[in-house]
């Protein structure tokens, strides 16, 4: 059986899958709920000690909701700003809305590659790829919102380059 010849590069920058917006919205929702609960508890304690005219937290849930709405409004731009590219020599990751970042990782420096699928990712059929280089404490970059096929392609591209140069 003939294997299709694996590509070495991505032929230009690629966007990530639009479904990642749902993943991020969903994880935003979870974070907002957790944040709201923590802030409400803090406010509850404060209300008790300051004898405020109302008895239940009002400001904290509102604040959490505002933060949630603001974060959710950013999701679209967050997605639109994500690009990744594998060139002959480098892996290039670009992301960010307020802080815009482009990270360049030489291909022969990649030590190993992880493919991760969290529970929310899995629900939407997505995976993420993390790159590791020597001497760093954690991964140097994680590309979210890849279909399992894309993630696997990316992994084989990077592992192939590793084998070719060492």
């Amino acid at each position: 059986m003939e294997q299709p010849i694996a590509k070495r590069t991505t032929d230009g920058p690629r966007p990530i899958h639009p479904a990642i917006r749902k993943v991020w919205l969903f994880s935003n929702l979870i974070s907002v709920v957790i944040l709201g609960v923590i802030l409400s508890f803090v406010e509850f304690v404060f209300l008790r000690s300051f004898h405020a005219p109302w008895r239940f937290p009002v400001i904290a849930p509102l604040l959490a909701i505002v933060i949630g709405i603001w974060a959710s409004s950013m999701v679209r731009r967050q997605w639109a700003n994500w690009r990744y590219e594998v060139t002959d020599d480098e892996v290039v990751l670009a992301w960010g809305v307020f802080f815009q970042t482009r990270r360049f990782v030489p291909r022969d420096r990649v030590q190993h590659v992880d493919i991760n699928t969290g529970p929310i990712d899995r629900r939407f059929g997505l995976a993420q790829v993390s790159l590791y280089v020597a001497g760093a404490h954690g991964s140097v970059g994680t590309i979210p919102g890849l279909t399992p096929q894309e993630a696997d392609d990316l992994r084989s591209m990077l592992v192939e380059s590793h084998a070719a140069h060492v």
Binding site: D88, D89, E90, G96, F98, F99, Q100, T101, R102, R103, F104, V105, P106, D108, R109, V133, A134, G135, A136, H137, V140, G141, H165, V166
Partner: protein, 495 residues
């Protein structure tokens, strides 16, 4: 005939005494403290019986303590077996640690004053696994320690090279320089913190400072203030002298020699340190000038190596030179990186907008800190302080801009930075692991970005260049990319 380590061997018998000493150091705290507390607080009738009890318990513990190190001596063996250092120990819980020779990063020989009295040395083995020592042999004879160090570092060709007795020093510190290193070191902050720390301990200040404070109160306010100031400066002076003594004991006889695996650093008066900087693994060389060093044209030299983490042990090993004349940085830098060359670097300044950004940033940080405190203490008058603060921040912005720069030549990338404490970071292109260009919203409005270049020295320093024009950042990015293409497949750095 150098000693061989094929068969499991025991440590030097001095290990018994050294382990015992360590054990007692721990025991002194455990036994002496309750004893003293009891003598100080206990009632007379009970005092003697309690002291007796503690004495008996202490005696039993000491007797037990003696058994431990003796058993340890008879059960601990080490050998080099199948290209790995094997250390076995324990009688009931047997433990066998195997460290593959290929994983060993560094082997240090340490001699405390006890080792030197007993003619022995401790050997400490570090791997890249993380911070600290992975294998420790408490005491070996000097001959064995040196032979083991060579054997562990020399696994590739097992024939140990005959070393000349006293190889010529590449670099050595004079006593005057050792003194200066302590006198100019920026330990002043620690000293002040230490003094304040003493006042923080309530129990002690209750007991020992109350009479002091009472006698101060009985003086006239002027005399009291003078006495207090004199006492403070006296304490600072004592701290300063302590810092000189510490530096002198630590760096006494500092010398750098060539070793098969890199550079051998030897120093220390009471505890003798011998550490090896593995040359092939040097990722970054840093030239640091703390403020007082600059007055005398001195600097410190650091080498960040692959796999070194910011733990105490390794961080101190990273300091290659505690004090060095600025003219000699080239010479020492060459030892660490063969193509080190500060003179041929072509330096470029960052954008002038960096002045404004730096000034605004430091103004905001100080204002957030000072304004609430000032308003609480001095009411709204305190806001006047913002005017001199703004001027100071602007001046500091100008000073920052004057020095900050990045430089390149065909092999090296470097950055320099600092207002009071200046630092140059030098990284060869072939040690680059990854690099990042980023820009915050405000930087983008000003057309600026920040470039950060990272090597494999995990606890080490990146080359970081803030606030360069976007075009300059792109030019640098092209240069980096080109160098990566050039070095593809034949990169060095021990990884």
């Amino acid at each position: 005939m150098p000693p061989m380590f094929d068969e499991p061997r025991r440590l030097h018998p001095a290990a018994i005494l050294i382990n015992l000493g360590r054990y007692f150091k721990q025991m002194i705290g455990a036994v002496a403290f309750p004893l003293i507390a009891m003598l100080a607080t206990g009632r007379n009738s009970k005092k003697e019986t309690m002291a007796l009890m503690v004495g008996i318990v202490g005696g039993i513990l000491s007797a037990l303590a003696l058994i431990g190190p003796v058993l340890a001596y008879f059960t601990t063996t080490f050998s080099i077996h199948e290209n790995a250092l094997v250390i076995s120990s324990g009688l009931i819980w047997r433990k066998r640690r195997t460290i593959p020779l290929a994983r060993i990063q560094n082997v240090n020989i340490e001699r405390t004053i006890w080792h030197r009295l007993l003619g022995a040395a401790a050997v400490k083995v570090e791997t890249a696994a993380g911070g600290g020592v992975e294998g420790e042999l408490a005491a070996l004879s000097m001959v064995d320690a040196n032979a083991l160090q060579s054997a562990l570092l020399h696994h590739a060709d097992s024939e140990p090279v005959e070393q000349p007795k006293q190889p010529e020093a590449l670099f050595a510190l004079t006593p005057k320089q050792v003194f200066l290193a302590g006198a100019l070191g920026n330990r002043l902050m620690y000293i002040i913190a230490g003094i304040l720390g003493v006042f923080q301990i309530d129990n002690i200040s209750e007991v020992s400072f109350r009479p002091l404070v009472r006698s101060l109160n009985s003086m006239s306010p002027v005399v009291g203030a003078m006495v207090a100031t004199a006492a403070f400066f006296g304490l600072v002076l004592v701290g300063w002298l302590v810092s000189i003594v510490m530096s002198a004991t630590r760096f006494y006889g500092f010398r750098i020699e060539r070793h098969e695996r890199g550079l051998l650093l030897t120093h220390g008066l009471l505890t003798q340190f011998k550490s090896i900087v593995p040359l092939g693994r040097v990722q970054v060389v840093r030239i640091v000038q703390p403020i007082f060093f600059r007055l005398f044209d001195y600097c410190e030299v650091y080498a960040d190596t692959a796999g070194s983490f910011d733990s105490k042990d390794v961080a101190s090993a990273n300091k290659v030179c505690p004090i060095l004349e600025v003219d000699r940085t080239q010479e020492i830098g060459r030892l660490l990186l063969p193509n080190f060359d500060l003179d041929s670097l072509h330096w470029r300044q960052v954008s002038r907008k960096a002045i404004r950004r730096h000034a605004i940033r430091s103004f905001l940080i100080w204002a957030i800190f000072l304004v609430p405190v000032g308003v609480i203490w001095f009411k709204w008058q305190a806001l006047w302080v913002l005017i001199p603060l703004a001027i100071l921040c602007w001046i500091s912005g100008i000073l920052y801009f004057r020095y900050v720069a990045y430089g390149t030549n065909e092999n090296l990338l470097a950055s320099r930075q600092g207002i009071l404490r200046k630092q140059i970071v030098v990284m060869p292109f072939d040690r680059i692991q990854h690099y990042t260009i980023n820009a915050s919203y405000f930087q983008r409005l000003a057309g600026l970005s920040t470039v950060t270049v990272v090597s494999a020295a995990a606890g080490g320093h990146p080359v970081s260049i803030a606030d360069v024009d976007i075009e300059a950042a792109h030019e640098l990015r092209r240069k980096l990319s080109e160098s990566i293409r050039e070095h593809r497949g034949n990169r060095t750095g021990g990884l």
